[in-house]
Symmetry: C3
């Protein structure tokens, strides 16, 4: 858990002449490019209260952080660096992805309705890129579709986007250049526009995550970018269970969970213990008259959904994609069904030759949640996790909403408290902080 | 059609000591465990009017039945036995599944808003299990997520769930332990909570079914449990066309059709002859102001939907998933397209050697609906069924809504009447009961 | 662009005796069969204002046309010929499909609420067919489900459908006979019922398209009809980018875009630059109280959606399915990821032997949008298109909404103006008509 020390790399002004496209950022203003800030781990960073500008209640980015901004000439300015990154998918597995400012997803951008924002985007990838601001109503030239609304940003160049945030809501950013590849490599980030009036759409706890899918062969580090449907890692903020942060909420608080989908298929997001309503999409706030009661929100690709509830039911509540193979990690497709077959005699023969051989699955697959076969390096078990009552037998898009009474104010404002003292892999919730 | 005789197996109290986890059910109350009732066929059972407790209008479970319950100490009690079962998928095909009380899906549980229900779950599977009560708002310890909210129920043990039904609606139950395997094997059941006021949300006919997908190789009996997307049997209540019961409705009646999805993909359920509105989800009743007119309801995995309409348009109306390959049964993926190619000379040569050889598909695939190639044992033809006007050429998730005037009251209250005298495979609707 | 000359083939009355099923059309009325009109190209045809009957504002069928009709005995009559057709998928690729009246999709049928329509359907396919009128409330015998509601129409026969259009809205037609094959071959068409009161649901610009998926191996012409999920051509009106017409709208106009899905998976349709509301489904008009703000509309199979917006944001706005591999054309599934690997030495060795060898993808896939590898004949590049700012790197379900001020009335009423002078492949929008 990194509470205060974000890894900052100074923007190297010496190389700015090559990094910045002259036509875009005048040489005279190069010193004005805001410092880019980086994150080197997948630990959640405490979202700081806004330092400048109007007040807003910052969102909690699961296993992520919010981009710092600065006010200058009446604009809120950010600096994103598109670049190759290393992301820990869960303890035990690293991936070579592409992202922004050191991680995938990139930092969450937060601003306030009515503000003008300026975003410097520097391309440190080996190919060109752009950023499309999904859901934002903006001038055509700022829309980020390579070839159609702007020339793609070449490697080494910096492009400046600037537009007014004319409505509050739930948005995201991602490339619209060599799009399938760049999203398959992890390039995306959340974007929240807070209402000008902080009493509007007010909640106590506000979580955000993006869904991405990767196809990384067991033992490998780099996603296969041409996979169309058969992904083996279904992630929230490029993390899988048991590596996804919990959603810790004080009993009685009003909570909002926002998410967006940039995978290749729909994800029906199911939360236990509550029913709730979708209150916001990437198109805007849903009128009360139009809301449906749900326990599972189907989120299509290129859609975003936010649902709200009052956390009045204490306990540990599973939250997960309801596609059963999306709560599994990388698995063999060709595992035959052993159910109903007794393999003891065959196994005995094989074990004579291959001592570590185990026959899995003749009584179901639950054995896999308890004992673990030897795995290739850099691979997460298909079914894993351990809860207070035993093996959880999950993977992928699975986490836990923990509703607790009596959270202290200090603790409550500090996301560092939310995770288990032993680290973010806090699926076993013990008595010290339950 | 079994009208009155459900196959009852006495709960064997002699073995209760081993079957029941001592920590869960005290020995002194073992005699109090309610009798479990079983079903040995896929025939629809007349839903009896409630014997105890408040009145409700029971639902019709396609090719299924409702679990009997008893009132004791102010609670409605049920007994579910998780166990391997044999299910007839359609005449001509049996499957080895896992289910409850003799069949897959398990019996529908019906109760009334405000009641406390107690459900004894006995595990006769070869591996541990749990039951999650999808959509029910209940205490965390009753939520049935193995490892997280309870220890999994070991083989031979009985676990008791007890909670209050605090709202009416449309729910389901399924394991949350070795979840992908156990659902791929057919473990699931419907759960309906009727409103306390029987005038609320009142309809005349109320049908329920769950969607499950199986991957059973032609000629085999047991599903492959690690399949992720390429299933070959898309079922309603573990049945495929022409084995799925009709929805018989008296002209002018208000009807409701409720369904839930536990497959691996969305199912857009399309009904002909009407437009209609979704009035209920697994999250609750949809306010009138929020309802959409639809002819196709997309139901994501882990979602439930109920739609309603007044049956004022008489006739035979197809109801089906609109994914064309979900209204087909097991098929070869690698069948080449023969359209536009004349194979007569090639066929003639092959037939000299292999007399039963037929060239399918050079004029389309409709031949397959009429004549049938020799099939492996225990396999349903890809396209099949016969209607009053000829071959229906369907399979999988397909049935017929039959809206008829002049149904007698006696007939109407007796689902046994609804099916063709020749049996439930009543796709050919003849003049005697049309 | 064909403005006035539709290719008309005279309905050959000499062969009518064999073409028309005697039981259906009495011989005495054969002269009364309306002339069928054909289209031989994929160019958009100016939708004519209604010649007979009440006034309505015709829809614009992307890369298509509306079927002419005539009034007779108080009925609006159409004639559809089901037959094999040749469709240009995009410049450079032809496909052998099945369709209606010379093209796939068939002509859009437009009529007015309250009218009775009669549709003569002649089957010139090598196998039987029917037409189902998706979403229309009609008598059971007109519903077009082969075997269930009518005998299939045999090759050479004509069947007459007749029913009243009892509500306005957004519908489609397609076969319900050997359904998977016939839809996989392209048989479908749009059907719009205009409100009796032209002021109701009035918009200035009204676009329609249907989504179909094909699996045509590179270099081949005929779709594989048994493909279930792995299609390689994701089309709007059987066209892919850069072959799909633009949506040209005058700034300030109210526009509606209607679409339906007859593929094998959901399509989340995303439009840039605006948020909007779904106002109509195939079930009817959505009440205002129930509408959601959206930027991406997920359209399931067998669903239709219409969304509306006021075109007040000028510019070029991408509109596309948000599944990234649906905005790609046919691609290799087994292309390995080269990212991060330097292949120059290997490539040099291979190039010695195979001079045209190129290593793609070691810096991402964007190279593919600029240079093009030699392709098999009759194949569209995976990523293609060229905009005013460079390569667009798209394919499949992608087009551009062009909102322009100052469109002249003459131009505006003439869809021929909407496309680039160089043809429908007008992705590069130049200054002459911008």
């Amino acid at each position: 858990m990194d509470k205060i020390s974000m890894n900052r790399r100074q923007f190297v002004s010496a190389s700015a002449a090559t990094l910045i496209g002259a036509a875009v950022v005048p040489r005279t203003s190069q010193a004005a490019v805001p410092e880019a800030q980086f994150q080197s781990s997948a630990n959640m960073v405490v979202p700081p209260l806004p330092a400048d500008g109007p007040f807003y209640n910052p969102v909690v980015t699961l296993n992520g952080w919010s981009a710092p901004s600065r006010f200058k000439n009446g604009r809120r300015e950010f600096h994103l660096i598109a670049e190759p990154v290393e992301r820990q998918i869960a303890p035990g597995m690293m991936a070579n992805l592409w992202g922004y400012n050191g991680q995938s997803p990139g930092p969450t951008i937060e601003c306030v309705e009515g503000e003008t924002i300026r975003i410097y985007v520097t391309n440190k990838l080996p190919e060109h890129t752009t950023i499309h601001w999904h859901g934002i109503i903006l001038p055509s030239g700022m829309d980020g579709v390579g070839g159609l609304s702007q020339p793609q940003i070449k490697p080494g160049e910096t492009f400046v986007y600037e537009f007014e945030m004319n409505k509050s809501g739930t948005f995201m950013y991602h490339p619209h250049a060599d799009e399938m590849t760049q999203m398959a490599m992890g390039m995306m980030g959340f974007l929240v526009v807070h209402p000008k009036d902080p009493e509007q759409h007010k909640v106590d706890r506000d979580f955000v995550f993006l869904m991405a899918s990767y196809d990384i062969d067991p033992g490998m580090f780099t996603p296969k970018v041409n996979t169309m449907t058969d992904f083996n890692l279904w992630t929230w903020n490029s993390r899988v269970f048991p590596g996804i942060d919990h959603f810790v909420i004080k009993q009685g608080d009003r909570a909002r969970i926002r998410f967006g989908n940039l995978t290749m298929t729909n994800h029906p997001i199911h939360m236990h213990g509550y029913d709730f309503e979708v209150t916001c999409t990437d198109g805007g706030w849903v009128p009360e008259s139009a809301r449906w009661p749900e326990v599972t929100v189907d989120c299509a690709i290129g859609q975003m959904r936010a649902f709200e509830f009052v956390a009045d039911n204490p306990g540990d509540w599973a939250i997960h994609c309801h596609k059963a193979h999306h709560t599994m990690n990388a698995m063999g497709h060709d595992v035959p069904t052993m159910i109903g077959v007794d393999h003891r005699s065959i196994a005995r023969q094989i074990v004579d030759v291959v001592p570590e051989f185990m026959v899995m699955g003749e009584r179901g697959m639950a054995d896999m949640g308890v004992m673990e076969m030897p795995l290739p390096d850099n691979t997460i078990p298909m079914m894993t996790g351990w809860g207070q009552f035993g093996p959880i037998e999950m993977g992928g898009m699975f986490s836990v909403v923990k509703v607790r009474e009596g959270l202290k104010d200090r603790d409550y404002s500090d996301p560092g408290w939310y995770v288990h003292p032993k680290g973010t892999v806090a699926y076993k919730f013990d008595s010290e902080n339950s």
